[in-house]
């Protein structure tokens, strides 16, 4: 539910220079607070991630590379990235469309639609996995069996990432000045041209944010895909499931190496997104 909000609110306007304390000296309370925050963050997040990176390179760079480029690991990474990209593209299109309908259209049941969009963020991933398996599994009530197929994994990823683009595009559409569009239309532009030349450029940063967030989420996903994928190496095994398998069979170096690749992929995407937003704000 709020990875989106959070990413969007991440930015801080610079503090007014007049109020800025000249010498960065903290009082005792603030100093203790900083000590506590640093310690908490270290114990929970930083030291474990440092240990992960160190484990990944236990056997040097070549060991890391051997682990990542083994056929099984490589197939899982390839599937993860390709499925993530495909899901992100579908989300970009349908997310924008749904956001548009939610903001600009009016119909009975719209408030229900508005409310259920957040469901995938709130539902535990294993519940999503169970739901998808009951829908597309062997006992599918609609006769579509996607269990142990790549398409089943993709459906699971589409389910859990559906809200991202909707929730990033919606606020921008609310803010968008409709007079610009009316001006374009009254000057003879068709609705399609108006959308393409006036609306779309304004939405692009938000669409990009939502798409990047859904990619980062898709490549990390575990709970919703583990049941439906059937965990078949070279076929339906995504990286998170591969990592879990390596942990279970007590090969932490291999698990750590692939984990580092996933982590770097997410960080690169999220940092690029952050850079894009800064660039957009400077421009706008």
């Amino acid at each position: 539910m709020s990875a989106t909000d959070l990413q969007l609110t991440e930015t801080h306007p610079p503090a007014p220079t007049g109020r800025r304390v000249r010498s960065p000296r903290l009082g005792i309370r603030a100093g203790l607070g900083l000590g506590f925050a640093t310690m908490y963050l270290s114990i929970v997040v930083l030291i474990p991630l440092a240990a992960l990176s160190s484990k990944a390179f236990d056997n040097g760079v070549s060991g890391f590379w051997d682990a990542v480029s083994s056929p099984e690991a490589w197939a899982a990474l390839k599937l993860t990235v390709l499925a993530g990209l495909g899901v992100s593209v579908v989300n970009a299109v349908f997310g924008t469309l749904i956001a548009w309908v939610l903001v600009r259209d009016r119909f009975p049941g719209k408030s229900l639609m508005e409310a259920v969009i957040d469901l995938p963020f709130a539902l535990p991933t294993i519940v999503a996995g169970l739901i998808l398996l009951s829908l597309y599994g062997v006992q599918s009530p609609i006769g579509i069996n996607l269990a142990f197929k790549v398409s089943g994994v993709v459906m699971a990823l589409l389910f859990v990432t559906l809200p991202f683009v909707v929730r990033t595009v919606e606020p921008v559409l609310w803010e968008l000045d409709q007079e610009m569009e009316e001006a374009a239309v009254s000057l003879g532009a068709s609705r399609l041209t108006t959308f393409r030349r006036v609306v779309f450029p304004n939405l692009l940063p938000a669409i990009a944010s939502g798409t990047a967030l859904s990619f980062a989420r898709a490549i990390s996903e575990f709970g919703s895909t583990v049941l439906i994928s059937g965990n078949l190496p070279f076929k339906t095994q995504v990286s998170a499931v591969f990592i879990y398998g390596q942990i279970e069979s007590d090969r932490p170096e291999i698990a750590a190496a692939v984990s580092v690749v996933l982590l770097v992929l997410s960080l690169v995407v999220l940092l690029a997104l952050d850079g894009l937003q800064r660039w957009g704000r400077r421009r706008g």
Binding site: M1, A3, T9, E10, H12, P13, R20, V21, P24, L26, A30, G33, L34, A37, Y40, L41, V44, V45, P48, L49, A51, L52, V101, R104, D105, F107, A115, V116, L119, A122, L123, P124, I126, V127, G129, L130, I131, L132, S134, P141, L158, L162, W174, A216, I219, S220, E221, G223, L227, S239, A240, I243, Y244, I247, P252, A256, S259, L263, S266, L267
Partner: protein
Amino acid sequence: MASATTAKTTAARLGLRAIAIFYVGIMLLFPVGLLFWRTFEHGIQPVWDQLTTPSAAHAFRVTVIVAFWAVLGNTIFGLVTAILLVRHEFPGKRVLNALVDLPFAVAPVVVGLSLILVYGPHTSVGSWFADHGIDVIFALPGMVIATMFVSLPFVVRELVPVLEEIGDDQEQAAWTLGASRRQTFLRVTLPSIRWALAYGVVLTLARSLGEYGAILVVSGNVIDHTQTAPLYVGAQYANFNPQGAYAVAFALAAIAIVAIIILNVLRPKERT
């Protein structure tokens, strides 16, 4: 001419509406509705029986205990960190700000693996704790840390924008009038951020109750011991007891829906 354009616009609008309803219906509403149907296929009594088996009840209890400590830790961390980030200047502030978001980039399974590598039974830290009679991994402490990791940014990220918006004028006024720091915090700062704080806490709680991947790795998934409700869902499905899985999944989904309703009530009404 004009009416032809209007008709075309109307048709386009109806078309877009139809696609949106169809997509949301088939991707979201139908699947979630199916969960409810599968759960209550055989009536209410079997669902109740499944929810009250000793193992299911134990799993819910473990889930609540783990979520409680994670929410408590992240709420205190969130308050302290948000106030530091907004109200204070110190070297490394930008780094701290960036690091708070780091957990969102880490896959749940990777969270679990990272914790095992530090606190696991075969590590120096883990064996130090074991010598002092504390098991971290495959026990509650590890599960609490894993839950803290995955839900760490929520409270900070809800509080920072609100603290920025309210500014510190009122706090300064309170100090000037002789209020202590403690009084200022309790009577001035806290009341003005309480809704954002509640929002962040509900987000943290919802995420904590539903975590699967990270908990699966660090808990060992032992039934009647370290198995949480989400783990119970997966295990019961794998053990050919789909009714048990559906009943607990339904309960978790109902909690998620209540969380969404609370969040919608708490969300500032910025639009009509």
